[in-house]
Amino acid sequence: MNLEYDFDDIDDYLQDRMSDTDRAAFERALETNPELVQRVEVIKAEAKVLRLLRDEYIMDQFESWDKESIEKKTPRFFSAPGTDKQPFNSKKWLLFALIVTILVILVVVYFNQVRPAGKKLPAVQPPEPSMPKDTTKSTQIIDKEPVADVKGPNSDQNAAFIAQLTKETYRGDQFNERLMGDNTQEDTTDPYVIAVQLYEAKNYKAALNLLQQPNESQKSEYLYLRGYIYYHLGQYAKAEQDFHAFRGMQISDHKIDAVWREVFCLVPQLPGSRKRLEGILQEIMSNPSNAYYKDAVQLKKGLERL
């Protein structure tokens, strides 16, 4: 038995933790001492067994990950070469969203800047509500932009001008108040109340889903809110239809407002909606006490320049 070197020393030798002098001495001892050689072999075998144990553990892990992927019905191996598709992670989604945004911007720029004359005008994006709630005040619609530069009905300036008109004719509304003067406490399970909350959170599609089958007693409220939702979704014709239906309701405090809402739905549909728009403006202008009289006059002037 070589007492000069114990298992720890052998471990140090194998792990390269010995000084050069000690290593040289150890190697000299190895040359002359077969028992030490055997002990070194034992330590090596021990390390190898521990490594094999770890490898088996990892192989078991591989098997469990395979089972996991089979349970998720995502076979890892059994598909044609080159068809592996990784699920989209958040980075890829961001990249995808960025590319889509750039494409949308390019399309918008193309239609606004490069679009050849004679082609159909693009739909105008719905503006964000920016006007005060008080709808009785008149606003300057026409004089804010140099409309003298407008060249023709199909020019690019017209598209920009219509977009501006769309923005300026828009009137927002507060929906947390009941339209028909009903000030009772809100029922949080009422689809209308939920739709209002969704609308205010700009979740227009979800709000619209709740308003597809109106309760008869709340039909006017449904129509009014749905008109706004369609407007924000860029579905101006449907919005116009709802506001039009709303003002046909028997009892309503907002009939006059609804007329103007119909107007602001018609503006982005120009020039196709021009005849209908002029008809409604004429209707408003026939009554000088109408709260929207001045707005209608100015919009009419603006239309003449288109």
Binding site: D55, M59, S79
Partner: protein, 202 residues
């Protein structure tokens, strides 16, 4: 949930770790990495292999790549981890195919049968069974508690984790038990030079 590594450096550090939870996450990331599997598959297909070969080669290459990273053999300045392991896989499969070719030629010379079809790779299964049998043989003389302890130590669990898993009072008790087990195991091996030789040959 699938682990994510944002950089090559993060992945490398995880694979170099001795903590099972960390290196396992890195291994799982590679094991489920579509690009990695795709690259191994491409190489195996190019050498005439099939999906089953892909699975075996991928497991072996991943294990070997991991061992090389842990042993400091892998040089990150020369190639990326995935490229490195795909290279190991290709090399392994090529060697395997060559050996198979030799075996088949010998077989055809000595037997009149042409082909043997199985769903599993007999050599791989044999290797693994042999490995497990040898581990069991080596650990046979140290008792079940010591076997478990060495197994956990081999995997890389810390003494506190081992103490928790094997119900030792604390990590110091686990450490002492581990020392006893190692001494016992070394003694057992010392008394069996033929077993040591067998392990060395594996």
């Amino acid at each position: 949930m699938k682990p994510q590594f944002d950089t090559e450096q993060e992945l490398l550090l995880a694979l170099q770790s001795s903590i099972p939870a960390i290196y396992n996450a890195a291994l799982k990331y590679l094991y489920t990495h579509g690009k990695f599997i795709g690259a191994v598959r491409k190489q195996v297909y190019a050498l005439g292999g099939d999906d089953h070969d892909v699975k075996i080669v991928l497991n072996e290459a991943l294990l070997e790549g991991f061992s090389q990273i842990q042993d400091g053999v892998y040089d990150p300045s020369r190639s990326q981890i995935i490229t490195y392991i795909v290279h190991i896989a290709t090399k392994k499969f090529y060697t395997k195919r060559r050996a198979e070719g030799r075996r088949t030629a010998m077989h055809l010379r000595s037997m009149e049968t042409n082909e043997m079809e199985t769903n599993t790779d007999p050599m791989f299964e044999m290797d693994r069974t042999e490995r497990i049998a040898l581990i069991n043989k080596a650990l046979a003389g140290i008792g079940s508690k010591c076997q478990e302890l060495l197994q956990l130590q081999g995997v890389g669990f810390s003494m506190s984790e081992i103490a928790e898993k094997l119900n030792y009072k604390n990590q110091n008790v686990a450490k002492m038990a581990a020392q006893d087990c190692r001494t016992k195991f070394r003694k057992y091996l010392t008394e069996r030079p033929e077993l040591v030789a067998e392990i060395r040959m594996l």
